[in-house]
């Protein structure tokens, strides 16, 4: 995969993060960094702590130890809202769409931070509120075109097939125009064709908008294909970190994967 992108400085740095739920140590002393414009994969067997790692990065879980530095701001505890306003968006492993809303409304929520009018103006549907709505709608339509979901705009998300729901969730994240996009198993449960589409979208996002991507994925083919560097977690610990080729050859990684069926 030949791509001409200039991968920059580390934009996101995770240092010595540990997270436990009661007795379960989901993450132990994990450190890694993510550089601007790169595609960074996190892999590992089930229960390795991958999702927990993303949850720490955007403030859904709060680690007992360690720090996360994003764009030069160092925090022990991110909070979700702050993470979003600093430019982190994400999708979830188990689709987290707003089930009672249409596709369009779901994606519009991605613009929440860009809306500048308050509820009183909106109650009057007054000039500024209306303009605000139109401008953001415009942006959302771009995302809809980009992901080719025009035909389902007005459909309640609950009625969509799984693959499309995943795409709508990506659309919602993209609508926020994030600098870093965290994707938790975006291709899980998809058929080959859907997977290929999704891969293409992810690469296009990275390519066209320069968005940094952190991706969790079980499909090794996909991971090796599209990522620049890979972090491997096992039982909450980092066991390898490097380019796909290096990681693939790593003894510990092979052992971790041999012990687990996928």
């Amino acid at each position: 995969m030949e791509q001409v992108r200039n991968i920059g400085e580390p934009i996101l740095v995770v240092e010595n993060v540990s997270l436990a739920f009661g007795g379960v140590k989901a993450l132990q002393d994990v450190s890694f960094d993510v550089c601007e414009h790169e595609v960074r994969a996190i892999i590992g067997p089930n229960g390795a702590g991958k999702s927990s790692m993303l949850n720490v990065v955007n403030g859904v879980y709060h680690p007992q130890q360690g720090h996360v530095t994003f764009k030069g701001v160092r925090r022990q505890d991110m909070n979700s809202h702050e993470a979003a306003s600093m430019g982190i968006a994400r999708t979830f492993q188990n689709i987290a769409l707003f089930r009672g809303m249409t596709v369009l409304d779901n994606i519009m929520t991605g613009r929440a931070l860009k809306m500048k009018t308050n509820f009183l103006q909106q109650a009057l549907w007054w000039g500024p509120a209306r303009r605000d709505e139109m401008q953001n709608r415009h942006k959302v339509e771009e995302v809809i075109d980009f992901l080719e979901i025009q035909h389902i705009r007005k459909t309640p998300v609950g009625r969509l097939p799984y693959g499309l729901q995943k795409r709508v969730e990506l659309a919602r994240a993209l609508a926020a125009e994030p600098e870093v996009l965290l994707l938790d198993e975006p291709m899980a449960g998809m058929n080959l064709e859907e997977k290929q589409d999704m891969c293409r979208y992810v690469l296009d996002v990275n390519d066209q908008f320069g968005t940094t991507i952190v991706l969790i994925e079980h499909d090794m083919g996909v991971v090796m294909d599209i990522s620049d560097r890979v972090v491997v977690l096992d039982y909450g610990q980092k066991i390898a970190d490097g380019t796909p080729d290096v990681v693939r050859a790593d003894k510990k990684v092979i052992d971790a994967y041999l012990g687990v069926t996928h």
Partner: protein, 358 residues
């Protein structure tokens, strides 16, 4: 004219985001409003205006308020009546204590008082969810009624907190007849319903629904969850507060704190369950149902029972009412959780395709 969308293409986002994108719907709404504002006052008698239409509108407004909180923002409240009480007593005190305060100002400020009380009792929603929160709103229900009864400053030192609403006067015009009160209430309810519709179709409403459907995802996308919940409490309570003020001023005239009891809160909850959770139209349909049903039951249950040879003991119709309401709630929750509004929508969709169903 047929109910069709053919030939109505949207050429701009603005057109697409209209409240009623279909021309036939727009005509329907205008017609309804014309009937409500012009025909009804001309033909309805005092009984219909005072005993049915005014309470219907007042309860619609309260149901709308509750629907904002419960239907849109997903926070179940069992304290609706308490917020209505705050609105009623708030308006009364502004009217009583500030000579210069116009009556509409008092209604609005009553609503604002309710909004503050709503925020106060909504604070627990930041930490608790579901029926834990419902129990917290029960605290509001009991506390507010108690406070209004026991601190009789609120009722200008009347016995057991009874207040008699002042006359409604705007620019020298007194709203004394059922007709004039009906029109005033109708105007207020129409405006507030429009404002509610505008809120729910813009960012405010989307944030409410997002928090309702998946709060973690909402936070992650940048929606301020706490502020969104508290705003829902504030706006909802404002609506309930204004409804409470109208309940006192335009409907009953004399109210006491005990009138705003848990039973009233439940009734308003029933309105939105039957009418449609998360639907503005549903608030009106539900209110109509709950207001009209007992009247119809009273009118027809006894003759019907007599006709088939049963002797209904006195008080039976109120028990029947409880049984039927209770049964309907269970029925709607199980069979049509989106209520009458959804049935209406389904009917419209059928009509759109009629006479070729496929």
């Amino acid at each position: 004219m047929l109910y069709r969308e053919t030939g109505q293409f949207k050429t701009s986002y603005a057109a697409d985001q209209q409240i009623f994108p279909l021309r036939q719907d727009r005509i329907g709404v205008v017609a309804t409003l014309l009937v409500a504002f012009i025909v009804v006052p001309l033909v309805a008698n005092e009984y219909w205006l005072e005993a049915i239409l005014i309470p219907f509108l007042v309860f619609s407004l309260a149901a709308l308020g509750l629907n904002i909180l419960t239907g849109y923002a997903g926070q179940l409240s069992l304290g609706t009546a308490a917020f209505m009480a705050v609105g009623a007593f708030g308006a009364y005190n502004f009217e009583l204590r500030l000579e210069w305060m116009p009556i509409l100002g008092s209604f609005a400020l009553g609503g604002v008082c309710a909004a503050f009380v709503g925020i106060l009792f909504g604070l627990p929603s930041l930490r608790i969810k579901g029926f834990y929160l419902a129990v917290a709103t029960l605290a509001a229900q009991f506390f507010v009624v108690w406070a209004l009864t026991h601190f009789n400053w609120f009722s200008n030192y009347s016995a057991s907190g009874v207040i008699t609403a002042q006359r409604i006067e705007i620019f020298g015009f007194y709203f004394l007849t059922g007709q004039s009160k009906y029109l005033l209430v109708l105007a207020i309810v129409t405006l507030l319903a429009l404002a509610a519709k505008n809120m729910v179709r813009s960012e405010t409403g989307r944030a409410w629904m997002a928090v309702r459907d998946f709060d973690v995802a909402a936070a992650v996308i940048g929606i301020p969850v706490m502020r969104t919940k508290l705003l829902a409490f504030a706006v909802s309570s404002f609506y309930c507060g204004v409804a409470g003020a109208l309940y006192a001023y335009a409907y009953l005239g004399t109210v006491e704190p005990d009138g705003f009891n848990l039973d009233l809160s439940f009734r308003i909850l029933f309105m939105i369950i039957i009418g449609g959770v998360g639907s503005i139209l549903g608030s009106f349909l539900g209110a109509a149902f709950i207001v009209l049903f007992p009247i119809l039951l009273n009118r027809f249950a006894e003759p019907f029972a007599n006709a088939i040879g049963i002797d209904l003991p006195s008080g039976m119709s109120s028990n029947l009412e409880l049984i039927i309401f209770g049964g309907l709630i269970i029925f709607f929750l199980a069979v049509e959780p989106l209520g009458l509004a959804r049935l209406w929508q389904v009917a419209k969709e059928k009509l759109r395709l009629w006479p070729f169903p496929h």
